[in-house]
């Protein structure tokens, strides 16, 4: 097996895209998708300038740029975590109507069990919504093979193709065998204006075209190498339909317990109707295993409930969270019982924490002290390392909803009369989705204090470049925040008293103020110093 390479699932996606003649990747960091783009950034292809790979400001700008590269005839990829697709949804849904020129593969990494996320939404819903094909590989080799299929299929159907992975596949290593590389496409822009200008007259025709494509998409699923049936040796009255990664847990259980059960593995959507209905018709009971929401289990049951189908909806499998081999063992071998060792009560939880030496710590110390002087103590926070200010000893924040929501929720609460109305947002989250909210606050003269906790990086996901390092004050001024109320502080213990006064002064200002708390992330600072040392 010397020709094998050991890679994380996310890196497999990246390696495959490079081998498939990729010309550019566009992405905003987000667990569990970050490593795809990082792998490409570190590749020879990107370092030599043949593949474009820098970070985008957010998922919407990333998606649109990938669409533009496709328009120009080249192969492009856009990567994001599941909630990133909410940000990119406008571009995404409409790109199904325009269609594409060069292959456009949309890789979305879902996070069932919410290891690093606010929800566990299932991207397969989005694929149905947009009426686009989706591939859901069950292992690393299939992820590699899916990518080549996806680029080719995107070009033959002139549609974007989704590839859905989840945390477990993205962050699990295995070996893969690569295929010979494809040559990147030449520059060959699309000249069909009627396809790309979505005026109503064009949009209606394009939408009809998307509907007319659907039989072709289901036919491809019927023939797909990624959908297949494994028959049992003897006739069975129970069958299993296993989607994507769930297939692994089904097969793990079947092989460990030497079960004789037929399995329909599905990894290519829209579902192949003939294959699925032919399979389901043979059994009295069908266990449906989906890594994500019970989307297809619900469809199979129908509104009036075909009770042959068992899965997440009837308690055969857990309703929420990622599947495990243990959940499948319980579903397929309910009579099996094994006594497990217990975790002794002496074991305490060990939640994540802000690093020692992190500037967010000193900011929260100062903020808590000033907030304690007010009757109303509400801090609207955002998505990033500083969300850990929610935990003891800080207990410093009251909300964390979606990227940028700190600014606009503080604004709405200020409009309602809450004082002080304080937002805490990181530098990268601010450039991702905070700027437009700040413009709303300026236009409305809302009495808010926006604290940008600026560590010059996208820290939570591992220290990727932040979009506007050292330009945040200029951006705020440009939007119209008064220069006198754009304050800068350095969150260090030695500045504590000075920082208290700055916070207090701006909380008392009855208009928009921005406080930029600047201190380099301790993790990126360490890496920077160690690489400077080597030089």
């Amino acid at each position: 097996m010397t020709d094998r390479e050991l890679l994380l699932g996310a890196e497999v996606i990246a390696r495959a895209a490079l081998d498939d003649g990729l010309s550019g990747v566009y992405a905003y960091p987000g667990t569990p998708s970050t490593e795809i783009t990082e792998y490409i950034q570190q590749s020879d292809e990107a370092r030599s300038g043949r593949v474009r790979a820098a970070w985008s400001a957010n998922e919407k700008t990333a998606y649109e740029a990938a669409l533009g590269m496709s328009y120009a005839g080249k192969r492009s990829m856009v990567c994001m975590k599941h909630v990133g697709l909410n940000v990119a949804a406008d571009a995404f849904i409409n790109s199904a109507v325009t269609g594409v020129k060069g292959g456009l593969v949309v890789v979305v990494a879902d996070d069932p069990s919410m290891h690093s996320s606010q929800n566990e939404q299932d991207t397969r819903y989005y694929a149905r919504f947009a009426q686009l094909p989706l591939l859901e590989p069950s292992n690393q080799q299939e992820a590699y093979d899916c990518m080549r299929y996806a680029f080719n299929f995107s070009e033959t159907t002139a549609l974007p193709v989704l590839v859905r992975i989840t945390t477990r596949l993205s962050h699990s290593r295995s070996t893969i065998v690569r295929r010979p590389s494809a040559t990147p496409n030449p520059l060959l822009p699309d000249t069909d204006r009627r396809k790309w200008i979505l005026l109503p007259a064009n949009a209606r025709r394009q939408y009809q075209h998307l509907l007319d494509m659907q039989p072709r998409l289901t036919e491809a699923s019927e023939q797909s190498p990624f959908n297949r049936i494994t028959e049992s040796a003897r006739p069975s009255d129970t069958g299993i339909i296993a989607f994507g990664l769930a297939y692994n847990y089904v097969m793990e259980t079947i092989s460990r317990h030497k079960l004789d059960l037929p399995v329909l593995k599905l990894s290519h959507y829209p579902l192949p109707p003939t294959m699925v209905s032919g399979f389901a018709a043979r059994f009295r009971r069908i266990i449906v295993a989906e890594e994500g929401y019970p989307i297809y289990e619900e469809l199979f049951r129908g509104f009036f409930g075909d009770s042959r189908f068992a899965g997440r909806l009837d308690g055969t499998l857990p309703r929420t969270g990622e599947l495990t081999p243990d959940a499948l063992e319980k579903a397929l071998v309910p009579e099996y019982h094994k006594t497990l060792r217990e975790v002794p009560p002496v074991v305490a939880p060990r939640p994540p924490e802000l690093c020692q030496g992190c500037g967010h710590r000193d900011l929260y110390d100062a903020l808590n002290e000033v907030m304690s002087t007010y009757e109303q103590r509400h801090v609207f926070a955002d998505i990033g390392c500083y969300t850990l200010g929610a935990l003891p000893p800080y207990n410093a924040i009251n909300t964390c909803v979606d990227m940028g929501a700190s600014v606009t929720m503080a604004k709405g609460a200020a409009d309602a009369g809450l004082h002080p109305a304080v937002a805490v947002i990181g530098d990268s989250t601010f450039t991702h989705s905070g700027i437009t909210g700040l413009l709303d606050a300026v236009n409305d003269r809302s009495a808010v204090t926006i604290i940008i906790s600026d560590n010059y990086t996208t820290a939570m996901t591992g220290g990727q470049d932040s979009a506007a390092t050292h330009r945040l004050a200029d951006i705020c001024r440009g939007i119209g925040v008064e220069a006198a109320h754009i304050r800068t502080l350095v969150p260090l213990k030695k500045h504590h008293d000075e920082n208290l006064s700055i916070l207090k002064e701006e909380f008392e200002y009855p208009g928009v103020s921005v406080i930029i708390a600047c201190r380099e992330c301790i993790q990126t600072a360490r890496r920077r110093k160690s690489s400077e040392h080597k030089k």
Partner: protein, 193 residues
């Protein structure tokens, strides 16, 4: 041949280095392997673990089923206990004894070690920090642990040692040699055992 190995610790302690030594060795032996790891929020000083499975036949699940781990290697005594439901009846637990204290209160160390002795017939307590220091590389406690676990991994020790060398070659002679000493000191524990 089939081994399920769970490696546990606190974010930043170096469990992925242990995993990559075993990964490399397994690949050299032509074995199938899957290795699930934790990225993202928990890496910030939280409890982290890696499920590593090696086999001479195809592996399906990236996760080890409960009660099926042949070996737990932990870089920290409390983290060793956190994953006990994964350990099989005959499973071996090997842990470093020095606590990583970033929670308050941290449990009594003697109570943790007593639980390990009580609940795991097969266990090995390793003063990995002290041995790493003796080996001349205070950062190599994880390499000591890899050495201490070597005879239970199911891969030839020479291969594991060679994999360690090839992974650290780029870091220069000093680190490679001190790692080799740390690994040998880990191995020595079980040969005397």
């Amino acid at each position: 041949m089939k081994k399920n190995i769970l490696i546990a610790g606190v974010g930043g302690q170096g469990i992925l280095t242990i995993a990559s030594i075993i990964d490399h060795a397994a690949m050299q032996q032509g074995l199938y392997l899957k290795q699930a790891e934790v990225h993202g929020m928990s890496q910030r000083g939280g409890a982290v673990q890696s499920h590593l499975r090696i086999s001479d036949t195809e592996i399906f699940s990236d996760l080890i089923p409960l009660g099926e781990a042949d070996l737990i290697i932990s870089l920290e005594p409390m983290e060793a206990l956190r994953y006990l439901p994964y350990l099989s009846d005959e499973g071996m637990l090997i842990t470093a004894t020095r606590p990583f204290v970033n929670i308050d209160p941290y449990p009594d160390l003697e109570a943790l070690l007593d639980e390990i002795k009580l609940r795991c017939r097969q266990h090995l307590l390793v003063e990995a920090d002290r041995l790493a220091l003796e080996a001349g590389n205070p950062k190599a406690a994880n390499v000591v642990m890899a050495g201490a676990a070597a005879r239970y991994i199911g891969i030839d020790r020479q291969q594991l040692g060679a994999s360690l060398t090839s992974l650290f070659e780029a870091k220069g002679k000093t680190i490679t040699e001190s790692n080799a000493r740390a690994f040998a000191m880990g191995i020595a524990i079980t040969t005397d055992h």
